[in-house]
C-alpha cells in the first residue's frame, strides 16, 4: 500500500510537532547504529587487511605451502625434517593442476657487511620465486638460470637490510656481503612487503638455490615448497593428492604421521583471524544489545506520542479510520525514523572509521554491506518496537472525544 502525499505530510507534521521525542528517538537509534556499523567495518577492515597481505604474496587462493617436518600448523616440528627433496617437487610438478612449484631452503646465518654483523634468515631460491610470491626486486636484478648453473656467488637482499647496514640501497648494489664464511655480491634489493606472522619479511637474503645448497648450507634437502595451482583447482582434492604422493615417496604408511605440513590459504587465514573473530563477536553482541535498548526507547516514546495524540486518533477512528489505517500510519512514521537514523548512522560510522584510520593502521573500508546493515537493522528495530504502540493506538475509544467536550 503506497501512502498518499497527504498522509506522508501529516506524519511528518506529527513527527516535527514533538521535537524532543523525535530527537531522542533518532539519537538513541543513531548511536547504536553507528556503533554497530563501526564495529562491523573495523572487523571487516582488519580481516581484509590480512587477506590483502596474504594475496599480495600470492597466498590468497589457488596456492599451497609445503613445509618440511610434520607437526602443528605453527610451532615445532616433531618429526624428521630432512626428508623433503627436490625430486619430490619434480614429481609434484607433473600433477596437471599445478601451475608452478618454487622450492626453497633456508637457514639462519651470520651475515656481515663492513663492521656490522647480524644473524639473518638466508634462503636459497629459484628464479620463479618472483612469480610464486609476487615479489620482485625494486633495484637491480633477480637471480637467473645462469646464476643457478654457475653456482654464482650473488645475493638479493630484503628492503630493511640496507638500513641495518647503514647504507643507502643504491650504493649497496655491487658491494659484497659475507654470508656464513663466503663473500657474495649484492645484485638486487627486494621491494618491501607487509609483514605478519613471525618473520619480518623484509629482513631476508636470497641466494641462488644451487649456491645456497652447495656452497653455504651444504645439504641435499629443502625446507619448503610454494605451489601455485591452476585457477579453479579444488584445494581439498589437491591437498589429498599431494599428501598421497609425498607419503608414498617418504614411505609413510598406516598411522605414521606426515613428515611435512601442507598449509592452505584457508588455514593461514583462520590462524591469523582467530583472535579477531572472538573480539569482533563480543563487540557485535554489544552493538546488537544497544540496538535493542534503543528499540525500547522508541517504543516508550511512541507510546507517549500516541497518548498525546489520543484525541486526534479518536477523531480519526470516529470518522471511520480502520485499525489498519492507524497501524500503517504509525509504522510509516517509524519507517521515516528508521530511514533518517539509518542514513545518519551510516554516515557517522564512515566518518568515525576515517578518524580511527588516522591513528591506527586499519584502512577505512567502503562497502555497501554496512549501508544495508544500517538500514536493515534500523528498519527492523524501529518497526518491531513501534508495532505494540501502533496496535495500542487502534484500541483508543472514540468516546474519549466526548470527555473533552
Amino acid at each position: 500500500m503506497i501512502p498518499s502525499y497527504y498522509t506522508l505530510r501529516e506524519i511528518t507534521k506529527e513527527l516535527i510537532s514533538n521535537k524532543v521525542n523525535l530527537f531522542f528517538m533518532l539519537l538513541s537509534l543513531i548511536i547504536s547504529l553507528t556503533a554497530l556499523n563501526t564495529i562491523y567495518s573495523l572487523g571487516a577492515s582488519a580481516k581484509k587487511q590480512i587477506l590483502d597481505a596474504l594475496a599480495n604474496v600470492q597466498f590468497g587462493k589457488d596456492a599451497m605451502l609445503i613445509i618440511a617436518g610434520g607437526g602443528r600448523i605453527i610451532g615445532l616440528t616433531t618429526t624428521r625434517r630432512d626428508t623433503l627433496k627436490l625430486e619430490d617437487v619434480k614429481e609434484l610438478e607433473r600433477l596437471d593442476f599445478i601451475k608452478l612449484a618454487s622450492p626453497m631452503s633456508r637457514e639462519t646465518l651470520e651475515v656481515s657487511y663492513k663492521d656490522i654483523a647480524e644473524k639473518m634468515r638466508v634462503e636459497g631460491v629459484f628464479p620463479n620465486f618472483t612469480i610464486a610470491n609476487n615479489w620482485y626486486p625494486i633495484l637491480g636484478r633477480f637471480i637467473n638460470e645462469k646464476d643457478l648453473k654457475t653456482f654464482a656467488k650473488v645475493c638479493i637482499i630484503g628492503s630493511d637490510i640496507p638500513k641495518k647496514f647503514n647504507a643507502s640501497p643504491s650504493e649497496l648494489i655491487g658491494k659484497k656481503v659475507k654470508i656464513g664464511g663466503d663473500f657474495f655480491e649484492i645484485i638486487g634489493i627486494l621491494e618491501p612487503k607487509a609483514s605478519f606472522g613471525h618473520y619480518r619479511r623484509d629482513e631476508r637474503i636470497l641466494l641462488p638455490f644451487t649456491t645456497a645448497q652447495r656452497r653455504v648450507f651444504n645439504k641435499d634437502y629443502i625446507d619448503a615448497v610454494k605451489l601455485l595451482f591452476k585457477e579453479g583447482t579444488d584445494i581439498k582434492f589437491a591437498e589429498r593428492k599431494i599428501r598421497e604422493i609425498l607419503r608414498k615417496r617418504h614411505k609413510l604408511f598406516g598411522p605414521e604421521p606426515d613428515d611435512f605440513r601442507l598449509i592452505t590459504p584457508e588455514m593461514a587465514i583462520s590462524v591469523f583471524t582467530k583472535a579477531l573473530k572472538t573480539i569482533n563477536l563480543f563487540l557485535l553482541v554489544i552493538g546488537l544489545i544497544s540496538l535493542i535498548i534503543s528499540g525500547v526507547i522508541i517504543m516508550n516514546l511512541m507510546y507517549s506520542n500516541i497518548e498525546e495524540k489520543a484525541p486526534v486518533i479518536a477523531l480519526r477512528i470516529a470518522l471511520g479510520a480502520t485499525p489498519q489505517n492507524i497501524i500503517t500510519h504509525y509504522l510509516i512514521m517509524s519507517l521515516i525514523i528508521a530511514l533518517i537514523s539509518g542514513l545518519m548512522g551510516w554516515i557517522l560510522s564512515i566518518l568515525l572509521m576515517q578518524i580511527i584510520s588516522l591513528f591506527t593502521p586499519l584502512k577505512p573500508l567502503f562497502s555497501w554491506i554496512t549501508f544495508l546493515i544500517s538500514f536493515g537493522f534500523a528498519t527492523v528495530t524501529s518497526i518491531l518496537f513501534s508495532l505494540l504502540p501502533a496496535i495500542r493506538a487502534t484500541q483508543i475509544e472514540p468516546s474519549l472525544l466526548l470527555k473533552s467536550l
Binding site: F24, A35, I74, G75, P255, P257, I289, S290, I293, N300
Partner: protein, 400 residues
C-alpha cells in the same frame, strides 16, 4: 517534607508503562554491561590460569633460536648442540629448585586395537613438580627409572580416555613406536597451557629412553628449570647463559640456544587479553549510555507535561535548587531501580553463561561495583538536562 516525597513518587508512578519501559532500557543496559565486564574479567583469569602451569619461576632453555609470537614460543630452527650433559652442568647453579631435560617428538601410541598419534615428552622425575601437574592416579617417575632407561609412561588425560576408556590403565602395557611401555600414571586434565600445547594430549616418558631407544639422538630439545625464589630469576638466567656459552664455546651473538622466561611468553598473551577485556568493557558502556538517553528522553517529556505543576510550585516559592534536586532524584531512582534488577539479572546470566562458553567461573565482584557506580553516574547525567529544563520553566505558563 512528606509532600515533597509524595510529589516525587507521584511524578514517578504517574505513567506506569512509561516508567516500566525506561527501567527496562536501563535493566538491559546494566545487565549486558555486567555480563560483558564479567567476560572481560574472566578472560583475564583464564590467562592467569594458563600461566599457573607455566609459572613465573620457570625458565626454558631451548636449542636453536626462539621467537615469541602471539603468546607462543616458536622454535625457528633446531640445532643438535644442546646435550643432556648441559642439563647436568646447570644443576650446579645453587638457586635452581627443579630441572628437567626435555626431548619431545611425535609418536604412535597403541593399546590393543586403538592407535593414535601424539606428542611424546621425554622428561625426568622433576618435570611434574616443575610444571605443577598433578596425577589423577598412579605415581610419578622414580629417579632410578630415569637413570635405568626403564620403559614407563605417564599418560595425558585425553590419551588415557581415548586408549582405555573407563578401564584401568595403570600397569597396562602400551606401545609407543612399537616399543612396549608400562603405564605408571595418568595426569589430571590440564587443558591448553600458555605455550598453546594441549597438555592432555601427551605422553610423558623418561628422557633417557626418549633419546636412546625411541628417537636415537644424542641431543635434547630443551631444558626446563624453576628457581627457588622468583627474585633470583634474572641472576639464574644470567648464570645459565654464562655456563652454556662457555660449554658451547660460542659468543653471545652466535648463541645456539635461547633462554625464555615464562614472562616473555606471557607478556604478549596478557597484552592481548588486556586489550580484549578493556575493549569489551569500554564498548559495553554504550549500552548503559543508550539506556540513560532513554531516561533523559522520558524525563524531558514528563517535565514538559508537568509544566503546570512545576509552575505552581515555583510561584509558591519553590527554589530552583529544590526542583533540580527533585528531578535528579527521580532519574537516579529510575536508573538505580533498573540498575539493581539489571545487576541481578546480569549476575545470574554471567554465572550461567561463563561456564557455557568455557570461561572460568568467577564471582564478578569488580564488574558489579563498576556497573553500580556507572549506573548512578549515568542516572545523574540523565537527569541533568530535564532537571535544568524544569528550573527554567516560567510560572507564567499557568496563566495561559
Amino acid at each position: 517534607m512528606l509532600i515533597k516525597y509524595k510529589l516525587l513518587f507521584g511524578g514517578l508512578f504517574y505513567k506506569k508503562l512509561r516508567l516500566l519501559l525506561s527501567v527496562i532500557g536501563i535493566i538491559i543496559g546494566v545487565a549486558s554491561l555486567l555480563i560483558m565486564n564479567a567476560f572481560g574479567e574472566s578472560a583475564k583469569i583464564k590467562t592467569l590460569k594458563e600461566i599457573e602451569t607455566f609459572g613465573p619461576e620457570i625458565i626454558m632453555v631451548v636449542a636453536g633460536s626462539v621467537r615469541v609470537h602471539g603468546g607462543r614460543a616458536i622454535q625457528t630452527e633446531i640445532t643438535t648442540t644442546l646435550k643432556p650433559n648441559d642439563a647436568e652442568a646447570l644443576r650446579k647453579i645453587k638457586d635452581i629448585k627443579y630441572l628437567s631435560p626435555v626431548f619431545n617428538g611425535d609418536g604412535i601410541v597403541r593399546y590393543l586395537g586403538n592407535t593414535l598419534t601424539t606428542i611424546i615428552n621425554g622428561v625426568n622425575e622433576e618435570y611434574l613438580l616443575l610444571r605443577k601437574f598433578s596425577l589423577l592416579e598412579g605415581r610419578n617417575f622414580l629417579a632410578d627409572e630415569i637413570l635405568g632407561y626403564k620403559k614407563v609412561a605417564i599418560l595425558g588425560y585425553k590419551i588415557k580416555t581415548e586408549l582405555f576408556g573407563d578401564k584401568n590403565a595403570i600397569g597396562e602395557i602400551i606401545r609407543i613406536n612399537k616399543l612396549p611401555f608400562r603405564v605408571i600414571g595418568v595426569l589430571e586434565p590440564i587443558g591448553i597451557d600458555a605455550s598453546n600445547a594441549d597438555q592432555d594430549d601427551q605422553v610423558l616418558i623418561p628422557w633417557t629412553v626418549a633419546v636412546s631407544a625411541l628417537y636415537n639422538v644424542d641431543y635434547i630439545r630443551s631444558i626446563y628449570l624453576s628457581v627457588e625464589d622468583i627474585s633470583q630469576i634474572s641472576s639464574v638466567k644470567q648464570q645459565v647463559n654464562d655456563i652454556l656459552l662457555k660449554r658451547h664455546q660460542v659468543s653471545e651473538r652466535n648463541k645456539d640456544f635461547d633462554i625464555v622466561k615464562a614472562e616473555d611468553i606471557l607478556e604478549v598473551k596478557t597484552q592481548t587479553t588486556d586489550l580484549f577485556s578493556n575493549l569489551v568493557k569500554s564498548i559495553s558502556i554504550l549500552c548503559l549510555l543508550i539506556g540513560a538517553i532513554g531516561v533523559t528522553a522520558i524525563m524531558t517529556l514528563s517535565v514538559n507535561e508537568r509544566k503546570k505543576e512545576i509552575g505552581i510550585r515555583k510561584s509558591l516559592g519553590a527554589k530552583d535548587r529544590e526542583l533540580l534536586f527533585q528531578f535528579l532524584i527521580e532519574s537516579v531512582i529510575v536508573t538505580v531501580a533498573g540498575g539493581i534488577i539489571g545487576i541481578l539479572i546480569g549476575l545470574f546470566s554471567s554465572l550461567i553463561l561463563l561456564p557455557l562458553f568455557k570461561y572460568p567461573l568467577v564471582f564478578p565482584w569488580f564488574p558489579i561495583l563498576t556497573s553500580a557506580f556507572l549506573t548512578v553516574t549515568f542516572g545523574i547525567l540523565a537527569g541533568i538536562y530535564p532537571a535544568y529544563k524544569a528550573t527554567k520553566i516560567d510560572p507564567i505558563v499557568l496563566l495561559r
